[in-house]
């Protein structure tokens, strides 16, 4: 398998800059997920890696070899499309065999490779059928089978699960993770679904407006989001952001005053902060507990069993969300007092950059 390096990749369509200054080093056998809102450039970046689209500038290296000018087939990549891109007039067998037929492999070899892929993906019984006779999940597996038979150095997935229903998506996530391990493959996977990113990726690239916001492990992104964007994008339900004003800095950290007058000292690096600065205090719903601190008027309570998600707003109209224990006794329509541990707070400056937390959970290397 292989490493994949992107160096200063940019892409513009006319005057519209879609990607700017993308630098990435993806390791051998790594499962990397590109995630971001629609229009952030993640699919374009994948298509540039595949060779379906030319970058405006920059270099792509696979296993250290510059493939920027190479045709897709010569890059050693295989791609799985969102629409599956199966040939409706060909059987499952011929669909999986397609790349081998293009390469004019002898029939026994084709048979052996297709057989092995079908085996891995549990498609053996479906081989004589046409794609139209398969379920969504099975079609997806055929598309994956077609990529496996080529023994590519890098697998590229373009939102492969977005056409499946929720239950099947969950199943396929597990299958894809297992497949990645079994094949020992380098995989790049594009999605807009942060749950797919969090559950499958070794490392996640968060893209926004054509730039990399952050590149790190799922837990790094969760505990140490580099920007306000990453903080609100990763984690479900979304992180709460409370506007605050810096009162002072000290060895203990940053002292802020929340709207409503509550003062707190938060253990973050304060190098750039000055008294009077406007900041935002980010607090994840799961870090909020019942107590005294901020008051929320509870509007809707979603009981999920293990947890109960409370949605409401503060006196100044700011929306707030808290994940409370499943057996909580609060009721819709009540005013609920909420508190959080200062160590759980994230602080973002006016530009959306984070002030590094000092007491975040230790991260695995």
């Amino acid at each position: 398998m292989a490493t994949l390096d992107l160096q200063s990749i940019t892409k513009s369509f006319g005057s519209a800059q879609v990607l700017s200054g993308i630098d990435l080093a993806i390791r051998d056998k790594e499962f990397v997920v590109f995630v971001g809102p629609s229009g952030c450039g993640k699919s374009t970046l994948l298509r540039i890696i595949a060779g379906l689209e030319a970058s405006t500038s920059g270099r792509i290296l696979i296993d250290g070899v510059d493939v920027s000018a190479a045709a897709p087939v010569d890059r050693g990549i295989a791609m799985v499309f969102q629409s599956y891109a199966l040939y409706p007039h060909l059987s499952v067998y011929e669909n999986i065999a397609f790349p081998l037929r293009v390469a004019r492999l002898p029939e026994p070899e084709v048979k052996q490779k297709v057989g092995r892929a079908a085996d891995i993906l549990q498609l053996t019984e479906k081989l004589p059928l046409k794609p139209g006779q398969l379920s969504g999940g099975q079609r997806q597996r055929v598309a994956i089978g077609r990529s496996i038979v080529r023994n590519p150095k890098v697998f590229l997935f373009d939102e492969p699960l977005s056409n499946l229903d929720a239950a099947l998506r969950g199943e396929m996530r597990v299958e894809l993770s297992a497949l990645q391990r079994d094949l020992d493959a380098t995989m790049v996977y594009v999605t807009h679904d942060q749950i797919e990113a969090m559950t499958m990726a070794h490392r996640i690239v968060v893209l926004n407006k054509g730039r990399i916001e952050q590149f790190g492990t799922p837990m790094e992104l969760y505990h140490h989001p580099a920007t306000r964007f990453v903080a609100t994008f990763i984690g479900q339900p979304n992180m709460n952001l409370l506007p605050a004003t810096v009162v002072g800095t000290g060895p203990e950290g940053l002292t802020v005053e929340l709207h409503g007058g509550t003062r707190m000292t938060l253990p973050v690096d304060t190098a750039t902060a000055r008294a009077g600065d406007s900041v935002e205090v980010g607090i994840r719903p799961e870090s909020l507990q019942l107590g005294t601190g901020v008051t929320m008027h509870l509007r809707v309570l979603e009981r999920l069993g293990g947890t109960a998600i409370a949605y409401g707003q503060m006196a100044d109209g700011l929306k707030l969300c808290a994940a409370l224990p499943g057996d909580t006794t609060v009721h819709e329509g009540e005013d609920v007092g909420l508190t959080f541990a200062p160590a759980d707070a994230h602080v973002f400056d006016a530009n959306g950059r984070v002030m590094r937390r000092r007491q975040a959970p230790a991260l695995a290397a």
């Binding site: 595949a50 379906l52 629409s83 891109a85 409706p88 007039h89 397609f98 790349p99 006779q133």
Partner: protein
């Protein structure tokens, strides 16, 4: 009470169903009447005429005499053969040229919107006017083609393309293809644009060449349209009348006389309505058999390629 209630409801429903059916008949009756008057009645009248010796002077029932004479006439069988040859050649050329044209128009070439418009004229301008244009070009005295051939020294003398049997036949084919190709092209183009781009990209990633993608993706994907166009085009070409009539009137010496021209000459020019009607009935039967075979074939193709 219950009995009455149970009985009443289905009866009401039946009444409503009846009125719905009556309403449906009412809705289709204008079209039905139209078809009866302009299709069914003339067809029935033609069949009746074919068993008579009708002329302007009157008619007598002659049984199958018209058919017997027709089938015994070697010239009739020559005409049948010529008609099928005409149809096979013209349709094949229309399909091939249409396929090539549609592929070019579908490719990412600069100014393709302009080319798409330029394809239209043969189809848009009245057939008679276009064909008269071709008649001028084929003319030996002032024709463009003869002029160019002489200009470039390819021929010594002037060439009247419609004057000799072979050249007239193939010249008529060229004109027929010119008239019939644009529609085929546009239908193929529409079908090609309906093929998912992902299929081509997936094949490209797998290393398939342009020709391979055309052969293994485009052709199978648009096969149902190719077959449909082949059928429609075959019927139109078989029945193509004005192109041949304006160019050659079926000549020289019958070289471009197809069944439809022959029928017109007998029935209208010679006013032998009975004999003409017999020819028309033969055409209807031939086309019906041909269409049935084609529909069966189309059904098979759709089952093979159409499974989405």
């Amino acid at each position: 009470m219950t009995l009455v209630a149970e009985g009443a409801a289905p009866e009401r429903m039946q009444r409503r169903e009846m009125s719905e059916r009556a309403f449906a008949w009412l809705l289709i009756s204008p079209a039905l009447l139209f078809i009866l008057v302009i299709v069914v009645w003339p067809l029935a009248e033609t069949i009746r005429l074919s068993f008579t010796d009708a002329t302007l002077g009157g008619e007598n029932f002659v049984g199958v005499a018209n058919y017997a004479a027709l089938f015994a006439d070697p010239k009739f069988w020559q005409t049948v053969g010529r008609t099928f040859y005409w149809m096979a050649l013209a349709v094949s050329l229309k399909l091939i040229v249409g396929l090539i044209g549609a592929s070019l128009l579908n490719a990412a070439i600069p100014g393709k919107a302009l080319f798409r418009v330029l394809v239209m004229p043969p189809w848009v301008i009245p057939v008679a006017i276009g064909v008269i244009g071709w008649k001028w070009m084929y003319n030996g005295y002032f024709g463009l083609i003869s002029g160019l051939l002489q200009e470039f020294g390819l021929v010594q003398d002037r060439v009247a393309l419609l004057a000799t049997k072979t050249s007239a036949f193939y010249s008529a084919i060229v004109t027929d293809v010119w008239v019939g190709t644009p529609m085929v092209t546009l239908f193929f183009l529409a079908a090609m644009q309906g093929v998912s781009k992902d299929l081509y990209e997936a094949a490209w990633v797998d290393g398939a060449s342009r020709w391979y993608r055309f052969r293994r993706i485009t052709i199978p994907q648009i096969m149902p349209v190719i077959v449909s166009m082949a059928l429609l085009s075959a019927i139109w070409t078989f029945n193509s009348f004005e192109i041949i009539w304006i160019l050659t009137e079926g000549g020289p010496r019958g070289a471009t006389t197809t069944l439809i021209i022959d029928t017109y000459k007998v029935a209208i020019s010679s006013q032998r309505f009975g004999e003409g009607a017999a020819r028309a009935v033969v055409i209807v039967v031939l086309l019906a058999v041909f269409s049935l075979f084609y529909l069966w074939f189309l059904n098979r193709v759709n089952r093979h390629y159409g499974a989405k």
